[in-house]
Symmetry: D2
Subunit: 362 residues, 4 copies
């Protein structure tokens, strides 16, 4: 199978290392965009098209995404980034007096600078199990709320937020997802899924959740572009048409409407032409799998197990410092005074020779 | 002088008309991006760089913008779109109990879907004079507020918003700008300028306001990219360093922080390399000037006079319909039952042959 | 007919003038509360009752208000003040992307310190005609919005706010109210009426709008207590039961829920026992009518005609200063360099001898 | 020492039990107000005074509170209720990108229906120790934030919220308070204290924190009225004059400004005349102490120890049901399938004979 990096013209490769003397595995958004996207941008550059997403490229992308999700009636919107998408969608789903239930490790709970609260909504946290919430915990939260005599003085859980893969790189199984979805349906609250790194879930051998599964289980989800090979962009999929009236205006109100919506649309049109989105994911997963095997062989300790493109290892600080001179990893957190958790992230752009080099350094 | 369109490879031109049978002058964001930007994106695509604006391209762009503005200490941030930029900056400047004074025709007053109010702030409107506010009206607003016995029950004007060029394509003269700035300085409230189409002001022969003038007069302003040749992006310039502490976090909170900040940074680095930003503006102005002269010669009525890349003409509806079959203009507003105001916008991508064709159609 | 002031024990009257050497007509909330309310507070003081409005006094008040409004299914909530009530109800009716249409002279437009914007909503202003909006202007606003090609980029008018009497003391006729209501019903947007001084409308000879008329025309309105004889309190009437689900929680969220809801409930129970609310209004109107006649006889100029408890006169500044030494009037606005508009307000507590004295001073 | 209930005229007592056949200990805001307050309201009822807190009663109350707090420069504002006061003050202290640190059991974290988030701010929760936060946990939160490499993507802790007594009826010792205050001062973030039930802390034998201690330790705190004998009202004390410019307007913006500010002011003037506020507290504490002793003697299990006017006991559900037929207690939470935690609250209005009766029922 062709790898994404094999499609990169040799002329571009030389820039890869730049002035730096070490490759980086610190995150999956360190390069520009998949070359096919650049190519399509160039090809279509001077076509005149309507603004704000009413262009032919966006419409084509919508059709391809609907087909991929087996959701022929779906509304599809293209936004710029993940925090923005979460803020818009959560604001769109919730009534003013409702909050969103999420893992205490969820991106909206920790790393969005209060974007959800800026829209007036509380994040109601559930304990995370390696980044995931459980249907049981969710059910208990909803039941406790309902049965609390003071619940009219409290923030009503009005929707559920989960991520696939999670912020810890872990995956909901289809069974887990269906159970959470069943709780949401029983309680008549929407389920929303953050797919910032969805390509790396979809291409993961351990994964059994497909795009049609997501469309069946969720009231909305987004297919990540920024961290999956696009210059930027996230594609929101709302399987039921007109589930959220006036979402266009809400997107504008949040400052999230692109004048040149075509630029986002064209990127998703490219990602969903052929199997590009899958290939982008599998390039990263194959690289991560090689690194995981090497780590195991060399006796490294995993902070927790994750099957996708993010690997979290526990290192002595001295070891981490020694490694840092040769290759850039991502800092995750201090484990204790002597140990640190570091993240290794691969992407669509990870080159085999850099993986070789990393393994050599370990 | 080399025109922007002359740098477009012939291979791309063929896309210009696409399936459509008529060129469009309806707005200035109908094409992709200036070819130089595409070229730079391709050249740098596989360089690995830090996220969130801490990359070398953004830093280079900041330095070039500081130099162009004669503002060596300026903080420069790259955001995605105009409404977003306005919402962030107005929220950043205002205390919770303050509002922003703006022309009743200002973009924030009319066409941002309540983005300013979403952030909790009132837009305090001033009458517009062909899109502009006057220093006298502003001074009166501030004085009336101060002298109103009930002013503690009212929204305090906490900053001033103006656009250059205005939403009507008109320009503040340097004298007008200085007078407004003097009122703001005397009242100790910030002046913020929306430069969504700033290239078309800077390149206009009638204009006498330079980037250094803006940096001297304003507490912040933004240099528009989306409507001036970029794929997207607006560059906020805050001449005084650290004038707004924690703006980075506020940008994140508004969902306006780009993970791949480099993509915005690189575009502005390109626009401010050589005289590209100026050339983009002058291409559009020259085309608009040709069209204006033709309109005058043919006896058309201007809804109001604008010297930049937007032309507003009053047409009989039957005439407008006839024209629409040959060339796409932008609808502006109904003037009365029989007349309509239409907008003709040129851009960096307007081709001389399309201008010829438009003039022929008139 | 018995006047409110006649029920005041002589022992309390002595406090009326306090240390001051002049009576005040500057507003209608300068005294405590109607003595009957004090009496009921004392009688019921040690009864134990449930909090947050679930008490017997509030329930009794609700029943009396439903009866007075011929709205047997109405939901009735008791809040503390007018700005608070407006902020809660407008937030409750509007979707996040909608705004409220109101006169540019409306209380929410001018004198609520941005409370509506704090909740995220824009006030869409209509020209006022002596404080009133016209059905025609409203219809035009809604039509212009609908027909504007950019309306998805604009704030959608989602409800209408009017006041009875208006901030200028003027009254909507039943015909005017019905026309506005008909526009709202046709457009399916709620009509909300601010009745901060409703007692003074209901008791006014010129008025032809009854409480049942309000219940028939409006989706919600409030019956003012603070300015009509209560210590504080406004009674929100929503004729259709459960029109706004979870309003209780929204009230709490706005910090507007009284722990001792009984204190508000008991006051409205008292105001709607017998004809007390009417008598409170008529006491003020009779006093205002006497003052209006005297002003006419003495040749004073009215800034505009108002038939309720507020009178607005145009005075030379020197004359206003001379008057101010003898009696306190309310400052309204500067008319020009030499003239000022002053407000004379009467209330349930206005004493005939003070009216005599005022007339003498004129 | 004279007890509050002894000042109640016999004529009023008969209302105490109303139609109900059992006294209630379910909360401390079940009666109207201390009779002295009713008396002062009656005495001053017809005095004319300025609105919005600019009256002589409010000014007198401010002076008495400043004296009681040994804070001669303090700004003092009178608001209506606790949630409202918390929402206003937290909004006033925080920058838009900051959040408030509080115990996970704090009123703002759980029982204010999202009022803090409505204002755009996140509540950053700390573990509670019987309702209290520890200086160590707070210091860790602030240090972890500062040291987190992603802290610019997170909500900055911008102030600290604590309650005295806590929601669990427990007390911070002076040493504990000073330690928390020292952390806040070192980090330059304000400390704000919710004193909804402050009277019951100040009068508690175990308490060693005085009003002057609060004024020395806190940047602002409020002295509770609603739950401590007033009809309503909370007095915000800000020891440093003009610490929060334009707070008046922010109060208005939140819908929290009383037109008849005198009604709140007069109540606090009364509470701080002589030792009334103390006596109100001690009446409740003495009653609670008698009940606590009886519970101990009879072998009841306390859910946790609290020395103030709230007692939390663990009961078998069958026992709780049997008790409920004779006396009303407050439901707190289900402990497990067979047990429940009930709250017994005393107040300024608790009568000795009802305490006798309760003890008999136990």
């Amino acid at each position: 199978m062709e790898k994404a990096h094999e499609t990169m013209p040799e002329a571009e490769r030389k820039f890869n290392m730049g002035e730096k003397n070490r490759p980086s595995f610190s995150s999956d958004y360190m390069e520009g965009t998949h070359p096919r996207i650049l190519q399509r941008l160039a090809e279509t550059n001077l076509v005149q098209s309507a603004g704000y997403g009413a262009d032919e490229f966006s419409e084509s992308a919508r059709e391809k995404i609907r087909a991929a999700c087996h959701a022929p009636e779906a509304d599809v919107f293209f936004l710029v980034g993940g925090t923005q998408t979460n803020a818009v969608m959560i604001d769109a789903f919730l009534a003013s007096y409702q909050g969103v239930a999420a893992a205490d490790s969820g991106h909206i709970s920790v790393h969005e600078a209060g974007a959800i609260e800026f829209g007036g909504h509380k994040v109601l946290t559930l304990p995370n199990h390696e980044g995931k919430i459980s249907a049981e915990d969710l059910e208990k939260l909803l039941k406790d709320f309902r049965e609390d005599e003071s619940h009219e003085h409290m923030v009503m859980p009005g929707m559920v937020y989960i991520s696939q893969p999670t912020e810890f790189g872990t995956l909901y199984s289809l069974e887990e997802l269906k159970k959470i979805s069943a709780v949401c349906r029983a309680e008549q609250i929407p389920l929303y899924l953050d797919g910032a790194r969805l390509a790396y879930a979809l291409s993961c051998p351990e994964n059994d959740v497909t795009l049609p599964d997501l469309a069946a289980a969720c009231d909305a989800f987004y297919i990540g572009g920024t961290k999956c090979g696009a210059l930027f962009g996230e594609a929101v999929v709302i399987p039921e048409h007109n589930r959220i009236p006036h979402l266009f205006t809400m997107i504008k109100q949040h400052g999230a409407l692109l004048a040149k919506g075509r630029i986002a649309g064209l990127q998703f049109d490219t990602l969903f032409t052929g199997d590009l989105y899958d290939r982008i994911g599998s390039t990263a997963i194959e690289a991560a799998d090689r690194i995981r095997r090497a780590l195991e062989e060399k006796g490294y300790t995993f902070a927790f197990r994750s099957p996708t493109n993010q690997i979290f290892i526990l290192l002595e600080k001295t070891k981490a410092q020694a490694l840092a001179e040769k290759v850039e990893l991502g800092f995750w957190e201090n484990a204790d005074d002597a140990h640190v958790v570091m993240r290794i992230a691969t992407s669509w752009a990870t080159r085999p020779e850099d993986v070789d080099y990393l393994i050599e350094c370990l």
